[in-house]
Structure formats: structure tokens, C-alpha cells
């Protein structure tokens, strides 16, 4: 297998990968970011952003209490306003999964766990699949693993592919998100190739970043992945989801992502089943914007909860 010759796991058919021109791609992303949204649509957009959000904490210092607090925020982002929907999922380390399962019980909030030697992916595949199986066993609905960039960038696409296949098998019923760590791939061509490879190997979602390096999600990178998702759907009839993570802090940014996804992939993707935004500080900005819509005046950070 090579980047220009990827085989779809399910059917054995070959998947075409299209090259990407950086300058034009970035220009398109920038032009989509100039779209403005109707005031009376803003609430719908902000609610959608919340419903697609994966509230994330991935710190070595995470504790059961910290996770419980995050889950509370996930279930009811604005305690003063019951119209505000809950987020899609909380995203945590495997050790925290059962605490999260407990804390989200009875809600729609899913539990997503990173697994498989996150964030580098550099341990044996056996250890990684065991980690995945453990997280699933603890009750995780979704598993976020990383692409083996080491193998992928060294030209061993076959290995990167097979590891995703093995991870998918280890997931069982849980959804598999494959993190490409786009900031390490070096070019949009590689992002597109990695997207196709991950989807062909069975990813339910492809995700931009671990959040552990400074180069994370960006509008053109997600556009690049969305174009790959669209191509994959066209070639296989299978719709794969997208998760943008890292560096998304403002409601306006979140809106830009929704525009990029909506214009590139259509409304089918504008749901928590197909689109996620991974974030830690975004939610409060979205809540502030909602308050501003309700009251007509600008709110401040003291009026949203810090969790």
C-alpha cells in the first residue's frame, strides 16, 4: 500500500486520493470564513455547536472530581437556562472512564476516551489494542486513537493502516475516531492521504489533533479533511464523521467550522453523529454569546461557570 494506492478495508476496492493545492485551499477556507449569519439563526447555530461539542480534559492531573465537574457542565452547560442543550460527549483518559460513565448516567452525553498510547501512538500494537479494549470495557462509547505518524511518514502506510484495522476490531461496538495529528503531517497532501487511509481502514470519525502540540485544527485543515470525507463517501457510499479539535476557542470560530462542514459536506454532517468540535474553553464563549442574544447586551466571564 502507498499513499496513492489505498485499499478500502470493507471491499478491497482501491480508493483514489486527490492532490491538494495549499494556496487555493486556504483561499477557499478564508472566503468561507467571511460568510455572515442571520441574527435569528445565530441561536440555532450556537445550539448546534454545543450539541456537537466534545468537552475535553486530558491532563495528567485529572481527578475523578474534575471529571465529575466536567460531566455536570456537559449535561447542563447553562444551569440558568434549560433550553441550552447538552454537549455531545466528554473526552477523557481511560482511567477516568468509569467516573464519567457514572457522572453522565441518564443523559445523552457520550463518553469518549483517548486510548492506544495517546498522544504518540508509539507502543506495541498489542499494548495499544489492550488499552482500547480496556477503555471500552470501562464503558466508553467512543475511542479516540492516534494515527501512527511514525509509520505513515516513514512510508509504511501498510502498517499504519493495519494498526487502525486492529484498533477498530478492538473497539467492538464503540465508535472509533482516528486522530491524524495534522500539525505533524507537513502538508495538505499528507492530511488528505492520511484521511483517506484512516477512513479506508475503518475509522468512524477522523479527527484533527490531540491538542498536545501547538499546531492543531485550522479551518483549511478541516476543509481538506472534509473534502476527503466527501470523496470517500462518493467512492464507497460510507459517511465518515469529522472532529475538529485544538485551538477552537470562540463562538465565531465554531461557526466558521459549521460553515465549512455545511458547504462542503451538506447538512447530513451537521449533527453530533457526524461532526464534533473538541474543546475545553469554547463552551463558555458560546454560552456568553447566547446570553448576549437573550439579553441584548454583552455578558462577561463572571456570568458563566468555570469548571
Amino acid at each position: 500500500m502507498s499513499t496513492s494506492n489505498i485499499t478500502f478495508r470493507e471491499t478491497g476496492s482501491s480508493i483514489k486520493v486527490t492532490p491538494v493545492d495549499e494556496v487555493s485551499l486556504e483561499a477557499r477556507a478564508a472566503s468561507l470564513a467571511t460568510r455572515s449569519i442571520k441574527t435569528n439563526s445565530k441561536r440555532a447555530a450556537l445550539h448546534l455547536a454545543i450539541r456537537c461539542m466534545d468537552l475535553t480534559t486530558l491532563e495528567g492531573a485529572d481527578t475523578p472530581e474534575k471529571v465529575a465537574s466536567l460531566c455536570q457542565k456537559a449535561k447542563r452547560p447553562d444551569p440558568s437556562n434549560h433550553d441550552v442543550p447538552s454537549v455531545a460527549a466528554v473526552c477523557i483518559y481511560p482511567e477516568m472512564v468509569h467516573h464519567a460513565v457514572e457522572a453522565t448516567k441518564g443523559s445523552n452525553v457520550k463518553v469518549a476516551s483517548v486510548a492506544g498510547a495517546f498522544p504518540s501512538g508509539l507502543s506495541t500494537i498489542e499494548a495499544r489494542t489492550a488499552d482500547i479494549a480496556d477503555a471500552v470495557k470501562r464503558g466508553a462509547d467512543e475511542i479516540d486513537i492516534v494515527l501512527n505518524r511514525s509509520a505513515f511518514l516513514a512510508g509504511d502506510e501498510q502498517r499504519a493502516f493495519e494498526e487502525i484495522v486492529a484498533s477498530k476490531d478492538a473497539c467492538g461496538k464503540a465508535h472509533l475516531k482516528v486522530i491524524l495529528e495534522v500539525g505533524e503531517l507537513g502538508s495538505y497532501d499528507k492530511i488528505r492521504q492520511a484521511s483517506m487511509l484512516a477512513m479506508a481502514a475503518g475509522a468512524d470519525f477522523i479527527k484533527t489533533s490531540t491538542g498536545k502540540i501547538s499546531q492543531a485544527s485550522s479551518l483549511p485543515r478541516v476543509l481538506c479533511m472534509a473534502e476527503a470525507v466527501r470523496d470517500f463517501a462518493q467512492q464507497t457510499n460510507i459517511s465518515v464523521g469529522i472532529k475538529a479539535a485544538g485551538g477552537i476557542r470562540t463562538a465565531k470560530q465554531a461557526w466558521h467550522y459549521l460553515v465549512v462542514i455545511g458547504e462542503t459536506l451538506g447538512t447530513e454532517w451537521l449533527s453530533p453523529e457526524m461532526f464534533r468540535i473538541g474543546a475545553s474553553s469554547l463552551l463558555n464563549d458560546v454560552l456568553l454569546q447566547l446570553k448576549r442574544l437573550d439579553s441584548g447586551s454583552y455578558s462577561g466571564p463572571d456570568y458563566v461557570t468555570v469548571d
Partner: protein, 496 residues
């Protein structure tokens, strides 16, 4: 105007999210009831007393009344330019000419939004284009050329340089202010004085520019702006004291002007029509190529002489490419030009709309298949939806004649040789596009395409430093860059 829905019904609006009708305010534009001619530093009446209306093509509502310059008025303007040339401009050091041009550039930047709104009102182009393309580029042209005014000897070393004197310039309606900038900036930098005629459907930004010219204290008569239609233009062309002509517009009118100029051995530059091939090879970055094709033909409603109006796509990817293209076209937003979200604005005039419609009908009669997206068009004003004609043969009128509207014709090819042969098989030669990831093929194509501007893996990019102009019936002489200066200097080695 709503967002158009793609076939599978997926649009943000179906989801309860609508783009704002983010209409740019017109309050910063103060349109006068009537405009005079700008001659010798003042706005003056016509000797004939004739005038005409200029409309907002998106509503058909009149915006203002503009004076029609008679041949007597043109004569006055030429004399003013001639006197001013001798009295001020010829004697002025280049460094001082530069300062005036810098000032004009600054004023354009300062009043950019006002100019952009006026441009959109008078011409129908989307505000995001007038705001993000026309205005920044117009200011940049003045800046670029300002710097040349005192450095001409570096551009043309060892030559005795001399301006022509009075230059007559006639510009089109598709980029009214930008074309004025393309014409005025190099002419003034090289030390000429000017009589400029904007197009009759889009005179307002040139007249606002006249105010700027007055505000920066450019000596009276250095720039004169006369409004009117063909008659006014031919009075400029035929005037015996005009020493050089520059025209941007249709090939048809360009030929008439050349007839007149060649008889009198008058220096001339022509920037005329085009029917640019836009060649997509199978290994191209297809998503970006789609964007390039969209931008190539729908930028400014296709009212672009260098528009990529003939899509040549490699047969192996043709079906897939056209399918993607049509889906992308469904997302284009046609409507109120002042709305920031609008991608395609109004057709510039009734006459142009009729011409587009007539050519598309001819294409359908000749056997082309037509694709138009499902968008609705406003009731008033001049509108034409983005249109793709497939099944087009090289012999069809729509493959040969410039449509100058949002209409793309599609043909296929099998090999680079065939692509090249079809691409070059036109009397025009203004621009061409080519998309492939193979570097050597880019060079092979760009070397052989007979056109003055080649966009490889991009399209419709412009810059004051980048010479622009055509081969064959697309005209001669260049605008922009060092090469553009040659047109405004005697003995500079440029074809002038």
C-alpha cells in the same frame, strides 16, 4: 435571495441556519442628482446640454444623471490636457509627479468602502469583490506607479525617454474604477496628461475619482474625465491633438479604433476580448481546480475579458469533474450585490443580458446541454444564473464567441497535445489556465499556450507588478509591471 439548495437538499438553511442578508450600508455614499464633466480641474456643463441616466442594474432604479460629452466638450478636454502638459506636467520632476500619485493612492484607501459601495451600486458586482479586489488593486496600482515616476531611467536605461503628451483613454464597464487606475497611473507616472472616458453604464466611480483628483490638488487639466457613449469615445479617438490612445473593451470596437489609429500612425494599446481555455488534467488538485474554474468564470458575473470561459477537462475525469462542478455551483449565492454573502451579482445592463441570453440559446440550438442551478432570481434588475453548457463542440458559436457572462462551456480532451490544440484554436489570446500537479507539464503547456497571461494552478489573479495583456485579437501592449510603462513613453521599446 436564499441559498441555493443542492440536489440532496443539503443546505444550511434547511437546518435552520441562514446566512445573514448582510447588506452593506449605502449611507456613506453621497450620490449627486447630476454630474458634470471633469475638465481642467472643474465639473462643467456640456456645451450641448445633453445628459443620460445611470442605473443600478440590480434594481433598474436610476442612480443619477450624467452629462454626455459632445465633440466640443472633448475638444475642450483635450485642449485642457494639452495646455496642462506644457504648463505643468512636462516640467514637473518625476519625484513630484510621484507625490501626487501617492496621494491619490492614499485617498483611495481612505475612502475605499465608499468607492466599493458606489462601484457595486452602479455596476452590479458583488460588494465582496469591489471591496476585496477592485478597491485594493486600484489603490495598489497608484502606489506601484507612483514609485516609478522618478525611476523611469532604470526601467529603460540608455534611452532618451519622452512622454507622448496628451493620452486618450477609453475604459469598459466591468471594472470601472480599477480600469481607470490601470490607465491613469502609468500614464501619469510617465508624464502624460489624460482625457479619460469611463463606460456609459458605470461612470460614477470615475467621477468620484475626479473628486479625489481635485482633492489632492493635481494641477488642473492633467486628468480630464468625460462621460458619454460611443460618440464621445470616437471624438477622443479622432481628435488630432491626442498623441496616444489606450483602449480596453470589446474586440469589435478595438478594431475600429485600430483602423483609425493605424491610418494616422498613432501609438495605440488595446486590451480586448478573450475566450480563455481553462485546462484541467486528470492529476490536478481537483477540489482547488473546481474553485479555480468557479472563480475563473463566475468572478464578476463572467464580465471579465480574461474569464476562463472554455473548460477543457481530461476525458478520464470529465464526468466526475462536471458533477463536482455542478454541486459546487449549487452553493453559489446569486442576488443583492450589496450583500456580503453574495457570490454573483447583477448583469451590468439590459443589453448585456440580452446578448448572454441570445448566445446561450444559440448554444442550445447547436446541441449543447445546459445546466443551471436551482436558485431563484430577483424580479427586478438584470440577472442571469451561473450556467454550464456541456456537449459543446469546437465549432459551436458558444465555444468561439466571447459571451462575457456567467456561462461556462465544457469540452473534453484526451492528451496534452489535444488540449493544447483546442486551447489555442481561437483568434483570441488573452489568458489561459492549466491545472496539473506535474511541474514539467505546467511548463510544457505554459510555453505553448498562445496567451499573454497564464494562470497555472490558480486563476484570475492580478497585481500591479504583473504585466497584463493579450496575444492575437486580444490586443497588444501590456498594462502593469515595468512592461506597462512602455506604452506611455516614446522610444521605450514597448509596442506603443
Amino acid at each position: 435571495m436564499g441559498n441555493s439548495n443542492s440536489k440532496d437538499g443539503s443546505s444550511l438553511e434547511d437546518f435552520g441556519i441562514e446566512y445573514a442578508s448582510a447588506v452593506e450600508s449605502t449611507s456613506l455614499v453621497n450620490i449627486k442628482d447630476k454630474y458634470g464633466l471633469f475638465i481642467d480641474g472643474n465639473f462643467v456643463e456640456s456645451s450641448s446640454g445633453k445628459s443620460f441616466k445611470t442605473l443600478d442594474p440590480s434594481t433598474e432604479k436610476p442612480l443619477s444623471v450624467v452629462t454626455e460629452a459632445s465633440s466640443d466638450d472633448v475638444d475642450r478636454a483635450v485642449r485642457a490636457a494639452s495646455v496642462s502638459y506644457e504648463k505643468y506636467w512636462k516640467k514637473m520632476p518625476g519625484a513630484d509627479r510621484a507625490r501626487y500619485l501617492f496621494r491619490i493612492a492614499r485617498h483611495l484607501q481612505e475612502r475605499a468602502r465608499e468607492f466599493a459601495v458606489l462601484e457595486t451600486l452602479d455596476g452590479g458586482k458583488p460588494i465582496k469583490e469591489s471591496r476585496d479586489v477592485d478597491l485594493p488593486l486600484a489603490a495598489a496600482h497608484f502606489f506601484y506607479h507612483a514609485g516609478w515616476a522618478d525611476k523611469l531611467e532604470y526601467a529603460f536605461p540608455q534611452r532618451k525617454l519622452e512622454p507622448h503628451g496628451v493620452v486618450g483613454q477609453i475604459i469598459p464597464w466591468n471594472f470601472p474604477l480599477l480600469m481607470a487606475a490601470w490607465k491613469l497611473a502609468p500614464a501619469l507616472a510617465c508624464g502624460n496628461t489624460v482625457v479619460l472616458k469611463p463606460a456609459e453604464t458605470t461612470p460614477l466611480t470615475a467621477l468620484l475619482l475626479a473628486e479625489v483628483i481635485r482633492d489632492v490638488d493635481l494641477p488642473p487639466g492633467v486628468v480630464n474625465i468625460v462621460t458619454g457613449a460611443g460618440k464621445t469615445g470616437s471624438a477622443i479617438v479622432e481628435h488630432p491633438e491626442v498623441n496616444k490612445l489606450a483602449f480596453t473593451g470589446s474586440t469589435e470596437v478595438g478594431k475600429l479604433i485600430q483602423r483609425s489609429a493605424v491610418r494616422r500612425n498613432l501609438p495605440l494599446t488595446l486590451e480586448l476580448g478573450g475566450k480563455a481555455p481553462h485546462v484541467i488534467f486528470e492529476d490536478a488538485a481537483l477540489d482547488q481546480a473546481i474553485e479555480g474554474v468557479i472563480n475563473g468564470i463566475f468572478f464578476n458575473q463572467g464580465h471579465v475579458c480574461c474569464a476562463g470561459s472554455r473548460l477543457l477537462v481530461q476525458e478520464s475525469i470529465a464526468d466526475n469533474f462536471i458533477d463536482r462542478l455542478q454541486k459546487r455551483i449549487e452553493l453559489l449565492r446569486v442576488g443583492n450585490p450589496l450583500d456580503k454573502n453574495t457570490d454573483i451579482g447583477a448583469i451590468n445592463s439590459q443589453a448585456q443580458l440580452e446578448r448572454i441570453d441570445q448566445l446561450v440559446k444559440a448554444g442550445i440550438e447547436e446541441g449543447a446541454e445546459v445546466f443551471k442551478p436551482s436558485c431563484s432570481l430577483p424580479e427586478n434588475g438584470y440577472w442571469y444564473p451561473p450556467t454550464v453548457l456541456t456537449g459543446v463542440q469546437q465549432s459551436h458559436r458558444v465555444a468561439r464567441e466571447e459571451i462575457f457572462g456567467p456561462v461556462l462551456v465544457v469540452q473534453t480532451f484526451r492528451t496534452p497535445e489535444e488540449a493544447l490544440e483546442k486551447a489555442n484554436n481561437t483568434p483570441y489570446g488573452l489568458s489561459a489556465g492549466v491545472w496539473t500537479e506535474k511541474g514539467s507539464l505546467i511548463h510544457w503547456m505554459t510555453e505553448r499556450l498562445r496567451a499573454g497571461v497564464i494562470w497555472a494552478n490558480t486563476f484570475n489573479k492580478f497585481d500591479p507588478t504583473s504585466p497584463f495583456g493579450g496575444y492575437k485579437e486580444s490586443g497588444f501592449g501590456r498594462e502593469g509591471g515595468m512592461h506597462g510603462l512602455a506604452a506611455y513613453l516614446k522610444n521605450s521599446g514597448g509596442r506603443s
